[in-house]
Symmetry: C2
Subunit: 182 residues, 2 copies
């Protein structure tokens, strides 16, 4: 009887409020054992928020322009944030939309889910479409430096095509929301 593939055992390298780094021994599909670093992440929700009808004339998207230390500058992103312990992705989507943009949504529906970079983290982002927005005041966290900007979807798509929008979840969310169909 063959042993199951996956984690054999492991040790925690480091952990803080945001990150949990583990060094695991792993059984591979061929039965051999190797070592893998895993940045354990609780998962996240991201939202493509439309201020008007996404299928109507000149749909407008609420975007975030945010300083990101890792990139050395500002990125155009859709609102997003990590799941709280036990929190369902849909609940997280409503919460993050409110925190980052001040908006409540009449409807939030799933678009897709994606692994950000499965070579070293189990982070999975659940991406949603939000419609029927009511605007209010945003309440960013202390280490969030964000500007909330309404942009025409056509302009957002141009920024995706030109590479000015370069954040993975944002590219994917916008292309799905814009009606990617095979």
């Amino acid at each position: 009887m063959s042993e199951p593939i996956g984690r054999v055992d492991g040790t925690r390298i480091w952990q803080n409020k945001f990150l949990d780094a583990q060094l695991d021994r792993v059984r591979y599909p061929d039965g051999t054992i190797g070592e893998q670093v895993l940045i354990h992440h609780p998962g996240a929700a991201a939202i493509v928020p439309f201020l008007n009808d996404p299928a109507g004339d000149d749909p407008q998207v609420l975007m975030i322009h945010q300083y990101r230390y890792a990139t050395g500058g500002k990125l155009w992103e859709i609102p997003a944030g990590r799941l709280e312990p036990g929190e369902a992705p849909l609940v997280c989507a409503h919460r993050e939309l409110l925190e980052e943009t001040g908006c409540t949504a009449a409807a939030i529906t799933p678009l897709t889910t994606m692994w950000t970079t499965p070579g070293f983290t189990d982070e999975k982002i659940h991406i949603f479409l939000a419609t029927g927005l009511t605007r209010g005041e945003s309440r960013p966290e202390a280490d969030e430096f964000i500007e909330v900007v309404a942009l025409p979807l056509a302009e957002v798509l141009r920024k995706v095509e030109s590479g000015e929008i370069s954040d993975a979840k944002t590219i994917i969310g916008i292309l799905y929301a814009a009606g990617f169909r095979t």
Copy 2:
């Protein structure tokens, strides 16, 4: 005169052959100081390899079906790998295509670049289109368990739409290669 934003100082948490985790003190745009964990990554190249004319009838893409410990199973991906020290992304693209699929390409051209998850890593993936392939034997690394599979682009797009393809670089590479245009 205001101080520049970004890294003030930091310490290395942990490092191995693949990952370099740093805990940095950072000056934010409002002048306040905070702490950020940064998983430093050298960057990567990913390739969408076409076996025939991407604009012709029934284009075929060479895909990778790969065990990923972080996800607990196999993912459909495009060939990809990290940059060697000093290596240009285009050189890396040729090398990874050869290592993972055994193919050489007559032409490799850039599609876009993307940040995988800028909240905690500076990993940036350069995505390319490869055409004019000559097939040979793949030479995966010891911890890579990959199957190389040729699939019709139409089927790959269906897998993107259904969510069966859920790896960020793969979704983005396929949608750009399939001719996403605004």
